[in-house]
């Protein structure tokens, strides 16, 4: 009786010790790396923003001038949407919204949607997603050119009823074997454009 109890207690100690070592190792690694990871993510976002709106177009710090849209009916879903504003001489030249398409094939797809002041799309990028490799991941610029089809589009080009993939009677190609992914992206881009149109005057307002 007392023998099995001492084995039990010893096992408890060993298990506790290994939990402690494991937690210690992960926390230590985290504390060493987390600043670098945050910096990497910031640079990655900045690189993507730069690709869409080059530095020559604006004179403000994109990452400093942001708006957080917590809830807007255009952006269904629980994710707040960040909007980066590109200003030149204190006037709005473009915005980059970071909406999340909630209805990808494997969960949500994070996008960057750059819109010129006049409501025309500069471009769209998928920054993070879990779409099927080889099928849905053709939304990545390094896998296919598909996402460039949005360049220069607007709410009137094509008309709103054609803002669908071809399978649904719209203007945008789907991928062979993957319709869900492009459908989700087209929908999210359309919603972002509609949001921009409805809130244009608010977004163009410059404080100070």
């Amino acid at each position: 009786m007392s023998d099995s109890r001492s084995v039990l207690i010893k096992s408890g100690w060993v298990l506790g010790l290994f939990s402690f070592i494991g937690i210690g190792l992960v926390s230590l690694t985290y504390s060493v790396t987390h600043e670098k990871i945050a910096e990497n993510e910031r640079l990655f976002i900045l690189k993507n923003l730069r690709e869409l709106v080059p530095g020559t177009l604006h004179d403000n710090d994109l990452l400093a001038d942001t708006l957080q849209i917590a809830q807007a009916k255009e952006f269904a879903g629980k994710h707040p949407v960040t909007i980066y504003r590109a200003l030149k001489n204190k006037k709005l030249v473009a915005i980059i919204a970071a909406p999340t398409a909630p209805d990808g094939y494997n969960g949500s797809i994070k996008l960057l949607v750059a819109i010129k002041e006049n409501g025309e799309l500069i471009g769209v990028r998928a920054v993070s997603h879990h779409e099927t490799p080889g099928l849905g991941d053709a939304i990545d610029t390094n896998k296919s050119d598909w996402i460039h089809a949005f360049n220069g589009r607007s709410l009137s080009n094509p008309p709103i009823r054609s803002w669908h993939v071809k399978k649904d009677g719209g203007d945008f190609d789907q991928f062979t074997g993957a319709t869900v992914t492009p459908r989700a992206v087209v929908k999210a881009v359309l919603k972002t454009l509609q949001y921009y149109q409805a809130n244009h005057s608010n977004l163009a307002k410059i404080d100070g």
């Binding site: 060993v14 494991g22 790396t33 987390h34 080889g134 074997g177």
Partner: protein, 227 residues
């Protein structure tokens, strides 16, 4: 030395985790749609296997048999999380490509399988070699299955190699079949199951031929043709 080569051969062929033990099917079937995806996941898995085998072997006398499994799980989870954090901070470009594969390593039951079946009973050196051999065997399975599915499914080989090896590898893509329409089944999960089944069958045929000593030389040359 002789026993080390036996351990290596065990991992690569006789007890190949993918073709014989049928462990790690989740990552094997999910990520084997191109050669590069398979190669990358295979290498990451090999690193994890080597590390977890070594650590488990080091502590094998200190941990009682009642609590060995939770301790192994703790060790493997800590190693994978640490690898992920380090890659995320120091190899960010690579992390962006491999990010989705790293959590898949945890779902690979062959890692805890080797910890339990080998590393907990053998010295450190042998466990290290075992982790290495098993990892390479798994990588080979991923790459072969990946090549089959990529050629059949998309008509290419080594697509997206530049994501891993840099822009210099852009020309590595081989268009095996030009103007190929694609064969969707091969890329989708059913293609992975069918492909794996065919490869296991092929391995069994080879093993059977090898075990017939009389016709050994003949069968070897035939196998070479098949491979």
């Amino acid at each position: 030395m002789d026993s080390y080569s036996k351990i290596l051969k065990n991992g690569l062929w006789e007890n190949n985790q993918a073709f014989v033990a049928l462990l790690g099917l989740c990552p094997l079937l999910a990520v084997s749609n191109t050669v590069i995806n398979g190669l990358v996941l295979g290498l990451a898995t090999t690193l994890t296997l080597v590390l977890s085998n070594t650590v488990v072997s080091l502590i094998r006398h200190q941990v009682g048999s009642e609590i060995r499994l939770p301790v192994f799980v703790l060790i493997i989870a800590s190693i994978v999380t640490t690898i992920e954090l380090i890659m995320n901070s120091y190899f960010y470009e690579l992390y962006l490509i491999l990010g989705i594969f790293i959590p898949l390593i945890v779902t690979n039951c062959s890692i805890i399988g080797r910890a339990e079946a080998f590393a907990s009973k053998n010295p450190v050196g042998a466990s290290f070699i075992d982790g290495f051999g098993m990892g390479l065997g798994f990588t080979a399975a991923l790459v072969i299955l990946g090549a089959m599915r990529e050629v059949l499914g998309s008509g290419t080989l080594f697509a997206n190699a530049d994501l891993m090896f840099g822009d210099a590898a852009k020309d590595m893509v081989i268009y095996v079949i030009s103007d190929y329409e694609g064969f969707l089944l091969a890329i989708l999960p059913p293609g992975a199951f069918i492909g794996l089944g065919l490869l296991i069958a092929l391995k069994n045929v080879i093993d059977k031929r090898l075990s017939k000593p009389a016709s050994q030389s003949v069968s070897l040359s035939m196998d070479a043709k098949k491979a």
